[in-house]
């Protein structure tokens, strides 16, 4: 029987991999700290340079934690979308959630300067940006849910989500065209994605959002499994289509919307990780896939972030560049090797 128990070894392996990815992530960064000093700091020992301790505890560990939340959360939302929409190419972007967040951020960063000519929002920018992006993604989400209540066909919903994405990105383009160079630059930087710029409060908020998303996903395990047969079969198994779909969409919105708000629109993780996970966990059972996909996404995000740091240099590549460079070839490889992306 394909119960979670049969995958115990795989889970142990993936947890060990997560630990090492985390260690690697924590021990590398723009300031060169010897590996053993990093370990010593983690075990609470004093090290040669005081600032190292500060960097590790106050910068690197929160950043690594954020990477885990972002990677795991985005991957989980991708899994939910792929099952709900019965489409291997679905991801957090398809419902227009990420583009909604972009619109919110764009309105704040470029719209305010456009309307008032001042950019005095900078001093409380970190929170206001997250709020604007969250509001943007949830506004789009509300519209999608409104449509979802009326339309029973999930495919139509998918296309409507894509159309919302197009509309919002067109609006963002209009804003970008008319805004000044400085605010355009700020928006571009946000859209590059980053897991390192969060304040402690923001990390806590993000953790809360991701936790709620995970709880809702776990509560939806049975409907998610039933959806694998199709909506009619799910209904015949006693699943309430409207209610379960509502919960799953809310979970996705929380995960993808919340993460995009704080870390920017990070590409490909949500789409690619569920497929990668199935290479190891060859099952469709969501009791296995939900934790596995979350852990796998966390590992991949930690690795991408480690690479983005360009070890020992002050330069940091945009995280979006790394995830696209890793994610897009993975999708191509899956298509070429497997001939088709079966979900």
């Amino acid at each position: 029987m394909n119960s979670p128990r049969s995958y115990r070894i795989a889970f142990v392996m993936i947890l060990i991999a997560l630990f090492f990815a985390w260690l690697l992530n924590v021990s590398s960064g723009s300031v060169s700290i010897p590996f053993f000093s990093t370990l010593a700091t983690l075990f609470g020992q004093n090290v040669e340079v005081d600032s190292w301790q500060y960097i590790i505890w106050n910068y690197r560990i929160p950043k690594a934690f954020t990477s885990i939340l972002v990677g795991g959360g985005l991957s989980l939302s991708g899994l939910l979308m792929q099952t709900l929409f019965r489409n291997p190419l679905a991801g957090p972007f398809v419902l227009g959630i990420s583009s909604g967040a972009s619109l919110g951020a764009a309105l704040l960063l470029m719209g305010t300067s456009l309307l008032t000519g001042v950019t005095s929002l900078a001093f409380f920018q970190d929170i206001s940006l997250a709020v604007a992006a969250s509001v943007g993604s949830f506004l789009v989400l509300m519209v999608v849910i409104g449509v979802a209540q009326r339309i029973k066909d999930t495919m139509a919903l998918l296309i409507i989500g894509l159309m919302f994405g197009s509309i919002t990105s067109a609006l963002v383009s209009i804003l970008a065209y008319f805004s000044n160079a400085e605010s355009l630059q700020r928006f571009i930087f946000w859209s590059f994605g980053s897991v390192g710029n969060l304040s402690t409060l923001q990390v806590y908020i993000l953790a809360g959002i991701v936790f709620l998303g995970i709880v809702l996903s776990v509560l939806s395990i049975k409907p998610l499994n039933a959806y694998l047969l199709g909506e009619n079969y799910a209904q015949s198994l006693g699943v309430s289509i409207r209610k379960s779909r509502f919960v799953i969409i809310i979970a996705t919105g929380l995960l993808a919307g919340g993460i995009t708000a704080f870390a920017g629109p990070i590409a490909f993780i949500g789409l690619a990780v569920p497929h990668l996970t199935r290479q190891i966990f060859d099952t469709m059972e969501h009791r296995v896939l939900i934790p596995a996909v979350f852990l796998y996404g966390a590992i991949l995000m930690l690795l991408c972030d480690t690479l983005a740091q360009l070890p020992n240099s002050a330069q940091v590549l945009p995280i979006n560049v790394l995830t696209s460079l890793v994610g897009a070839p993975v999708v191509i490889w899956l298509l070429v090797r497997k001939r088709k992306m079966i979900f």
Binding site: N2, L229, G230, Q235, S236, G238, I342
Partner: protein, 259 residues
Amino acid sequence: MSQQENHIISVKELSIGYGSKKVAENINFSMESGILCGIVGINGIGKSTLLRTLGAFQPKLQGSINMGHLALEDHSASELSKKISVVLTEQPASKNLTVQELIALGRQPHTNWMGSLTHQDKRHIHESLNTFMLDELRQRKCHELSDGQLQRVFIARAMAQDTPIILLDEPTTHLDLYHKVQILRLLQQLAHQKQKTIVFTTHEIDLAIQLCDKILILDGVENPFGDPCELIDQKRFEKIFPSEMVKFDSKTGSFKINR
């Protein structure tokens, strides 16, 4: 207990259709447990619509449908899932499911909030695998199966759901004669040995005559229902198709092309 209360399905004066568009009306039939019943009729007469209505996928227009002593619409979703299982014409959304995983999904109405399988659930799954000769295929993915195998998997899933009523929409389409007969024989066994009430739509009228206990003919007028032999005697099959093309031969119980 009166005759009426023994009936697991009882349909009276039923009209079916979509909104204002009536597809079929004046449908009356009832049957007890352990019956294999085929619904036959020409394309577009409303066979699938009737099956969808019986399965509560769409509302009836008029009349009454009783499942046991309770009207169909008075069942909650979870009660229905324990009473009626279905085999539809649609493919599974994910063909990456293994045979065993797919059949295990049939146990959902009986499992806890996480869908953990108890010993009893596993016994039902095992029995279904066994009945439908799927033991060797249990770890295969659905996309690796032939049409006939996949159809057996779906019927096994319905059996694992362990409901008194099983509805099947054209379970024998796309299959060759051998597999058509195989599927129908398995359904007959299931109905007789497990006392299930099995209703299916089909275009294989000659096979249905040989294997079904009851047949409902949708002809758009009287919609006769009864034993196959009775219906033959009453010359009911002659009216299914326009007579200029095919003619029913009541001696062999099959249709012949007019020359």
